[in-house]
């Protein structure tokens, strides 16, 4: 039981973080059609902003996280303005390659700024408890709680607010959305900012789990790609379920069988999902082609 609880919590943590990252990718993809390969490095940047403010300047967690998220939003907007807006109208492939270039640039810049030595960030809730014999760090519970609240809020935002509807309208039919008066350009910019802020939140949440270095975000990005594909790039809810599912499969099932190969599980599931349901497990066949 202790083992199961420990594995379940670790799977949940990984899962909600992958889901959070995947939702960031999805929002951007919906609003702009772009798959952003710099997402992993945005996650890394978020963690380093936290270290910079908390360790470097002695800020409290709440102001540091708030300012980091605002800065991440700004980074996303600048990224869109400086490097991607000029490519509007070019093939999606060109833009995707551009995001790969951005990823490398971002990584190098963070390396120059913060150095390449691994860093450590203390958790704001450093304690631990014993649940069914398993040691549970409070930070993992914090990650799960924050991520779930944010995910529910994001889902609510897209389902219920005017901005959320407009993003979904742009995703469904960009030209028609413009004919309906939607400021698609502004929305693209905001989506970049929002997506970058979500990535930054991921980085800030996972930073105290281990060590922070320039590769922090890469693995999270890979899992979030799998979550996006499995979830079907149409639905936020589907992507969240897929992200959490991936984390649990990787950790819980991987904790009992084929342990040394558990990191491959998300991708095996992803390949199966693509083979069986190209539109994703939660996407709707009827309009899969239009998203």
């Amino acid at each position: 039981m202790a083992r199961f609880v420990a594995l379940f919590l670790s799977g949940m943590t990984d899962g909600v973080v992958a889901a959070l990252a995947a939702v960031g990718l999805l929002v951007l993809n919906k609003a702009t059609g772009i798959v952003n390969f710099a997402h992993g490095d945005l996650i890394t940047l978020g963690a380093y902003l936290g270290i910079w403010l908390i360790n470097g300047h002695g800020w409290g967690y709440v102001p540091a996280v708030t300012v980091s998220l605002v800065l991440m939003f700004a980074v996303g907007v600048v990224m869109e303005r400086v490097s991607l807006a000029p490519l509007r109208g070019k093939s999606v492939h060109v833009v995707v390659i551009a995001t790969l270039g951005l990823a490398l640039a971002l990584r190098s810049l963070v390396g120059i700024w913060q150095g390449t030595d691994p860093k450590r960030l203390e958790s704001p809730v450093p304690g631990r408890s014993t649940v069914f014999g398993a040691t549970v760090t409070h930070h993992r519970l914090l990650i799960i709680a924050v991520a779930l609240v944010v995910l529910v809020a994001v889902m609510g935002f897209f389902a219920r607010t005017s901005w959320g509807r407009q993003v979904r309208a742009v995703a469904a039919d960009r030209v028609m959305a413009q004919l309906a008066g939607v400021r698609a350009g502004t929305l693209s910019m905001a989506a970049f900012g929002f997506s970058a802020a979500l990535a930054g939140l991921c980085g800030l949440l996972v930073a105290p789990l281990g060590a922070i270095d320039l590769n922090l975000g890469f693995g999270i990005m890979l899992n979030s790609f799998a979550a996006m594909v499995i979830g079907g790039s149409g639905s936020v809810g589907g992507v969240v379920i897929a992200g959490v599912g991936i984390g649990l499969i990787e950790r819980v099932i991987g904790g009992y069988v084929l342990t040394d190969y558990s990191e491959a599980f998300p991708f095996v599931v992803m390949i199966l999902a693509i083979a069986l349901r190209p539109q994703g497990l939660f996407g709707q066949r009827e309009h899969a082609a239009r998203l």
């Binding site: 004919l179 309906a180 008066g181 400021r183």
Partner: protein, 256 residues
């Protein structure tokens, strides 16, 4: 005597690569008017409409109430009240009927429109039970009604309608045009139609396009009177058109 133009198009030219789709067209829509733009398939009607709403690069002059449409983005024109109901309706498939209508709030922006949501449901009572249905699950007729309703909630000062009758059953065409007749009391329209009979029944004024040029214009009555000439430009009137117009079409009896 026609009223001062709300929309004025002059010397409009549109090229798709080496092919000229529109070669110097001019037309006007005044306040209170319903203007039909008629012509055979490929005459340049839809291209003209797309140029007016800012979707199509072109040369020439297009002015909507003082705004230069050739230099203004489609979303900005929409927020100024120039609302385009495009060919094929283009309902947002992932949004419900109610949400499709809510998106129009972007075009309405801070302006006040003549129509509210209840007016749309009054005009098209068929949509009422479909409120929560996804856009992808609607029939062609339902989509057309929703597209018009969505346009009305964008507080239009001029409606551009591209082939609203296309692909619809005759009974649905009658419903749609009955609604357009009511709407025209509030909002001027520029209507592109291949269904000449229906269009001439609905409009106050008409233009006929052929080969990218305006070849004929006049009041609805004048165009109806010159039916033979009209036919020569529009090609053989097809059977569907006659069927759709019906014997005593209700639309005919209601000038805008």
């Amino acid at each position: 005597m026609r009223p001062d133009p709300l929309l004025a198009v002059d010397d409009l030219r549109i090229a798709y690569g080496p092919v000229l789709a529109v070669r110097g067209a001019a037309l006007q829509v005044g306040r209170g008017e319903v203007v039909a733009l008629l012509g055979a398939n490929g005459a340049g009607k839809s291209s003209t409409l797309r140029a007016i709403s800012g979707l199509q690069p072109c040369s020439g002059q297009i002015h909507f109430d003082g705004i230069d449409c050739t230099r203004t983005s489609p979303d900005r024109l929409a927020r100024a009240g120039l609302i385009h109901v495009p060919e094929g309706r283009r309902i947002f498939p992932t949004l419900s009927v109610a949400e499709n209508l809510q998106v129009a709030g972007a075009a309405r922006s801070r302006r006040r429109g003549a129509f509210v949501v209840d007016d749309v449901y009054d005009l098209f009572p068929m949509l009422v039970p479909l409120r929560q249905r996804g856009g992808w699950a609607l029939s062609g007729g339902e989509q057309q009604m929703l597209a018009i309703g969505r346009a009305l909630l964008g507080a239009p000062r001029l409606l551009l309608l591209d082939e609203p009758s296309l692909g619809l059953a005759p009974a649905v065409v009658r419903t749609v045009f009955a609604a357009l007749a009511q709407i025209s009391a509030e909002v001027p329209m520029l209507l592109v139609e291949q269904n000449t009979v229906v269009a001439l029944g609905a409009c106050t004024h008409g233009y006929v396009m052929s080969g990218g040029r305006i070849v004929l214009s006049g009041t609805a009555a004048e165009l109806r009177a010159g039916e033979a000439l009209l036919d020569s430009y529009l090609g053989q009137g097809d059977v569907d058109t006659e069927d759709a117009a019906g014997g005593d079409d209700p639309v005919r009896g209601r000038p805008g």
